[in-house]
C-alpha cells in the first residue's frame, strides 16, 4: 500500500525518540552470551566444508567424489549434480554461485562440499575429491573485459539494452539524464575530462558466514544463519532446493556485520543439501579467506567524467560513463551509480551511461549504498578540481549548484524537501572549515546522496497481562535496531522505553520481511511498529470504552492511558495500559496490534563530509587528521546509533580511499584473501569522527525518519581524495591512494 503523508508541518514533540537509552541486547553482547552464526550447535551435528576452484576460469570436465565418500567419517558429498534446476529461474545465478555448474568462474568458486564428523575429516575428504578442470582464458579488469576480444564468461546473455558489437561481457547498459550535454558544455568556461578508477572492496564484516542446517527427507527444514534477511534466505533456499517456503523455518542469529554482503546466500543451500543427504544437522562456517575469495565484494569501476563549469562556479553540464565489473554474474550496481552520480546537483544538462560488466571475480554483493560511492568519487573529484582551478571555495560551488526542494533530480523526479543545502551550510559555518592547516596538510569536502528504501514489513506488538509490551519484528538487529523499535513503540504507546521488549522473530512467526538493507529498518520497520502500536491503542481505547459504557469514539489515548475524549464523554479516571492489560481476559481477550505493509515512500538523504589529511611527501603515507560528517537523518530516533552509522560509513570510505583493494595477479588469483593484506582501517589509523546530525523530516514517515546507514559511505572516497590532492599538490584519480601510488604521483609531479 501507499502511505499517506503523516507528518504535520510543525515539529513534533517526542518523549522517547531522540533520547539515548541503553540497547536491550547490550548485556548479551558485552558478556559474550549473544549467539552469532557460528555459535550454535546441534546434537549429532556434522561439519560441512567447501572445495573451491583454484582457477579463475575453467571448464569442469568431471568431479570424482568416490574416494571422499569412502573415507570413514564422511556422511555426504555434494556437487552441482545434486541440485536440480531451481523452481524460480530468478535464483539460477545464485545457485550457480553457491555451487558451480559447467564452469568455475572465479578463484574460490565452490565446486563441491562435504559433511563429516569433524573438521579434520572434512578437510581430508576435500583433498580426496578429484576435479578435472580445463583452464580457460580469464579476465579480471573491467576495461579489459570490455575489449571486443576479451575472454567471455556468458556469451549471449547481454540484455536488449546493450548495443550490438560490444564485448560479450557487457550485460546491460543504463542511461539516465535530461537536457543537452553538448549545449551545456559549450556554455562553460572550462570543461574538465577525467577518468577515475576504484578497486573492488569487501564489506569486511568481522563475522564470517555461518549456518546450521537440518533438513529432513520429507522436506521440512530448519536453518540458523547469520544474514541480513532470513526471509530472503528462506525464499531463496526454497527455490534452489525445490521445497515449499512454509516448510523451511529460518532463524536469524545475531549478525556480526553485513553492510550489504549478507543480503544473499552462499553456504545455506549447500548446508541444507548436505543435511538432507546425510540425515544429520550440518554446520558450515567460512574461513576469512573463503569470505574474501568467494563472497561479494563490491564492484570495481572505471568512470569517464565530463563536466563544464563557468568561472563563477555554475555547472553547465555533467556527463559520466560508468563501467562497473560486478564479478562473474550480471547485476553490478552501475545502474545505482548512474542514477546517483549527479544527484546532489541542480543541473539543466546531465547524462550518465552505465555498463554492467562480468569478469572472473566473485559475484559482487551489495555494499552500503551500492554503486554510489565510486560515482560520487568521480563527480565530486571533478567538481573539486574545477572549483579549485577557478580559485573558488569548493563548498560555495556546491551550494551554488545544490539540489533543493523543487529541483529536478539528475535521475528524473522532482525533489521534495531535502537536506543537502542544510548540510552544506552547516559545514560552511562549522569551525572545522576555518581551522588552520599546516604544511603538507590539506582539506577536502564532498557530498553524497542515497535513495533509501522501504519494502515488505510485518510486525506484531503484543500487550502482556502485566502491561508490558513485546514487539516481534523480522529484521536482524545489525546495529541497535531493537533499541530504536522499542523506542518508537514506547513513544507511540506513551510508556517508558524499558516496558517494551523487541524480539527478532523467525520466519515461522511473521509474514514476509524484506532484507535489512537499503537503510530501511528504522524507516520501514519503525513505521510498521508505530502503526502496530496505533492498532493496539485503538483496541485498548475500545476496551476502556466498554468498561466505561461509552462510545469507543469518545475515548482517546494520551500519555500511556485511555481517557475520555472530552467532558461530554463523562467523568472517568484515565485507564493505563497496565490497567487495561490486567482486565484483557474480561474484556475480550489478549490485546495486540499488528501491521503489514510494503513501506513505499522512503526519503532520500544527503551528506557532506569534510576531512583534513597530512601527506608524507617522502613516502606517500596519508594521515587522517580530522573528519566531520554532516548528514540529514530526517529524525534521529537514537542519536548515538545514528552517529555510529555516520562514523562507521565514513571510516569504511576512508579504507576504500586509502588502502583497501582486491589485488589480482596476472594469473587471476586473489593475492590478498586475509585481513593482513586486505587492509581495513585499524584504531590507530584514525582520529575521532565528528558528526553533525541534521533533521529535515521525511514526510513519508510518521516521525520523519529517513534511512541513515548508507549515505555515510558515499562522500568519503571523494572527500579524502580531494583532501589528499590538496595536501600533496597532485590530483589523485585512482583509488586506493596507497602510498606507492601516491608517492609515484608526487614524484612525477615534481619531475
Amino acid at each position: 500500500m501507499a502511505l499517506d503523508s503523516k507528518t504535520d508541518t510543525k515539529p513534533q514533540q517526542f518523549k522517547v525518540v531522540g533520547t539515548r537509552p541503553l540497547r536491550p541486547d547490550g548485556i548479551d553482547k558485552v558478556t559474550g552470551r549473544a549467539r552469532f552464526g557460528a555459535d550454535m550447535s546441534a546434537p549429532g551435528m556434522l561439519v560441512g566444508l567447501v572445495l573451491r576452484s583454484p582457477h579463475p576460469h575453467a571448464r569442469i570436465r568431471s568431479i570424482d567424489t568416490s574416494a571422499a565418500e569412502a573415507l570413514t567419517g564422511v556422511h555426504a558429498v555434494v556437487t552441482r549434480a545434486d541440485f536440480g534446476p531451481p523452481s524460480d529461474p530468478g535464483v539460477a545465478d545464485v545457485l550457480d554461485n553457491c555451487m558451480a555448474g559447467d564452469n568455475a568462474l572465479y578463484d574460490g568458486h565452490a565446486v563441491a562440499a562435504v559433511a563429516a564428523i569433524s573438521g579434520k575429516v572434512a578437510r581430508q575428504a576435500l583433498k580426496l575429491i578429484k576435479v578435472d578442470y580445463q583452464p580457460l582464458p580469464h579476465v579480471t579488469d573491467v576495461d579489459a573485459a570490455m575489449a571486443p576480444d576479451a575472454p567471455a564468461l556468458h556469451e549471449g546473455r547481454a540484455d536488449e539494452t546493450v548495443p550490438a558489437g560490444m564485448s560479450p561481457n557487457v550485460m546491460a547498459r543504463h542511461e539516465f539524464g535530461h537536457g543537452d550535454i553538448d549545449a551545456g558544455l559549450s556554455q562553460a568556461d572550462r570543461v574538465l575530462e577525467r577518468t577515475y578508477r576504484t578497486e573492488a572492496t569487501h564489506q569486511g564484516y568481522i563475522e564470517p558466514h555461518a549456518c546450521l542446517a537440518t533438513m529432513n527427507a520429507d522436506g521440512q527444514a530448519d536453518l540458523w544463519c547469520c544474514t541480513q534477511g532470513h526471509y530472503m534466505v528462506r525464499n531463496t533456499c526454497a527455490a534452489i532446493l525445490g521445497i515449499e517456503q512454509g516448510q523451511l523455518r529460518v532463524t536469524a542469529s545475531e549478525i556480526g556485520g553485513g553492510f550489504g554482503g549478507k543480503t544473499t546466500v552462499f553456504l545455506e543451500p549447500v548446508a541444507l543439501k548436505l543435511s538432507q543427504k546425510s540425515g544429520r544437522p550440518v554446520k558450515m562456517v567460512m574461513s576469512r579467506s573463503e569470505v574474501l575469495r568467494a563472497t561479494g565484494p563490491t564492484a570495481s569501476s572505471s568512470i569517464d567524467v565530463r563536466i563544464g563549469m563557468t568561472r563563477d562556479g555554475r555547472i553547465t553540464a555533467g556527463f559520466a560513463e560508468l563501467r562497473y565489473q560486478g564479478g562473474a554474474y550480471p547485476g553490478s550496481p552501475v545502474d545505482m551509480g548512474s542514477m546517483s552520480a549527479f544527484a546532489p546537483y541542480d543541473l539543466e544538462n546531465v547524462r550518465t551511461v552505465g555498463f554492467d560488466v562480468v569478469t572472473n571475480r566473485p559475484k559482487q554483493a551489495a555494499y552500503r549504498a551500492p554503486g554510489a560511492p565510486m560515482a560520487a568519487f568521480a563527480v565530486e573529484s571533478a567538481i573539486d578540481e574545477l572549483a579549485r582551478g577557478f580559485g573558488l571555495d569548493p563548498l560555495e560551488v556546491r551550494l551554488k549548484n545544490a539540489a533543493r526542494e523543487g529541483t529536478r533530480a539528475s535521475y528524473g523526479p522532482t525533489y521534495p524537501a531535502i537536506g543537502l543545502e542544510a548540510t552544506l551550510r552547516t559545514a560552511k559555518d562549522h569551525p572545522h572549515w576555518s581551522a588552520p592547516l599546516g604544511p603538507n596538510q590539506g582539506r577536502g569536502v564532498a557530498c553524497g546522496f542515497w535513495f533509501n528504501f522501504g519494502g515488505d514489513t510485518c510486525v506484531s506488538l503484543n500487550i502482556t497481562p502485566d502491561g508490558t509490551v513485546t514487539l516481534s519484528e523480522g529484521n536482524p538487529d545489525i546495529g541497535g535496531s531493537r533499541a530504536s523499535m522499542s523506542m518508537m513503540a514506547a513513544e507511540e504507546l506513551g510508556i517508558p522505553y524499558d516496558r517494551v521488549r523487541t524480539v527478532i522473530a523467525d520466519t515461522g512467526s511473521l509474514g514476509q520481511n524484506e532484507v535489512t538493507d537499503g537503510s530501511r529498518v528504522t524507516f520501514a520497520v519503525g513505521l510498521a511498529t508505530i502503526e502496530a502500536a496505533r492498532a493496539a491503542k485503538r483496541e485498548m481505547c475500545k476496551r476502556a470504552a466498554q468498561v466505561w459504557g461509552i462510545d469507543e469514539d469518545a475515548v482517546i489515548w494520551e500519555d500511556g492511558a485511555a481517557r475520555p475524549a472530552g467532558p461530554n464523554a463523562g467523568q472517568h479516571p484515565p485507564m493505563s495500559l497496565a490497567e487495561i492489560a490486567a482486565i484483557a481476559s474480561n474484556t475480550g481477550g489478549p490485546i495486540a496490534g499488528h501491521f503489514e505493509v510494503n513501506a513505499e515512500g522512503a526519503g532520500v538523504s544527503f551528506a557532506t563530509h569534510m576531512v583534513d589529511t597530512e601527506v608524507d611527501p617522502d613516502t606517500g603515507a596519508v594521515k587522517i587528521l580530522r573528519y566531520t560528517v554532516f548528514q540529514d537523518a530526517g529524525k534521529a530516533v537514537h542519536p548515538s546509533y545514528v552517529e555510529g552509522q555516520f562514523q562507521g560509513g565514513a571510516v569504511q570510505g576512508i579504507g576504500w580511499a586509502l588502502n583497501e583493494a582486491y589485488i589480482y595477479g596476472e594469473d587471476g588469483i586473489l593475492q590478498n584473501p586475509g585481513f593482513l593484506d586486505y587492509r581495513i582501517p585499524v584504531a590507530s589509523d584514525l582520529p575521532m569522527i565528528d558528526t553533525v546530525i541534521l533533521e529535515i523530516p521525511n514526510p513519508g514517515h510518521p516521525y520523519g525518519v529517513r534511512g541513515v546507514g548508507e549515505t555515510s559511505i558515499v562522500p568519503p572516497l571523494a572527500a579524502v581524495a580531494n583532501s589528499v590532492s590538496d595536501a600533496a599538490g597532485v590530483r589523485m584519480t585512482s583509488l586506493p591512494m596507497s602510498p606507492p601510488k601516491l608517492l609515484a604521483a608526487i614524484r612525477s609531479g615534481q619531475s
Binding site: G26, V30, G32, G256, G257, E643, Q647, S684
Partner: protein, 159 residues
C-alpha cells in the same frame, strides 16, 4: 592418534579437556567447552576477535594450541563480569553505544581490560595503538575509544 589431556584454569575455574594436537585454544574454547564468546574472525591473528589472556598476557586464542594451555590461567570474555556485576568497561560500552553488531566486542573488551590492567591512565593514542589488533568494521572506533577512556577514568576515581 590419541588426544591430549589438558588441565588448566579458565576464568578461575579448574577445567580439563581432551584436544587434538592441532586444535587451537580458540577451537577448544568454542567447540569443546561451549565458551563461544571468543569469536573467530580471521584465524590468522589479524582481527583480535578471539582475544583472551594467558597468565595475564593478551593473546589471540586462534594463534595458540589448546595443548599449550596446560597449567596456565586463561581469561575469556565470559569471566569479565562478576556475577551480575558488569565490569566498568562492559557498562561503558553499552552506555557509549560502542558496539553496533557486537561481534568484535568480546575481543575488544578483553583487550581493553588488559590495557587498563597495564596502564590505568592511557592516552587516546596509547589506547588506539593497544587496540590496533582488534578490528571493528561498524563503529569507526570513535565510540569504542571514548568508552575505554571513560571507563578508565571511572576506575581511577573509584580506586
Amino acid at each position: 592418534m590419541s588426544k591430549i589431556h589438558v588441565t588448566t584454569t579458565i576464568n578461575g575455574d579448574p577445567v580439563e579437556y581432551l584436544c587434538d594436537a592441532e586444535e587451537t585454544l580458540l577451537d577448544v574454547l568454542r567447540d569443546h567447552l561451549g565458551l563461544t564468546g571468543s569469536k573467530e574472525g580471521c584465524g590468522t591473528g589479524d582481527c583480535g576477535a578471539c582475544s583472551v589472556t594467558v597468565d595475564g598476557r593478551l593473546v589471540c586464542s586462534c594463534l595458540m594450541l589448546g595443548a599449550e594451555a596446560a597449567g596456565r590461567e586463561i581469561g575469556t570474555i565470559e569471566g569479565m563480569a562478576k556475577g551480575d556485576q558488569l565490569h566498568p568497561l562492559q557498562q561503558k560500552f553499552i552506555e557509549h553505544a560502542a558496539l553496533q553488531c557486537g561481534i568484535c566486542t568480546p575481543g575488544i573488551l578483553v583487550a581493553a581490560k588488559s590495557l587498563l590492567d597495564h596502564n590505568p591512565d592511557p592516552s587516546e593514542e596509547e589506547t588506539r595503538y593497544w587496540l590496533a589488533g582488534n578490528l571493528c568494521r561498524c563503529t569507526g572506533y570513535d565510540k569504542i575509544i571514548r568508552a575505554v577512556l571513560d571507563a578508565a577514568k571511572d576506575m581511577r576515581e573509584a580506586s
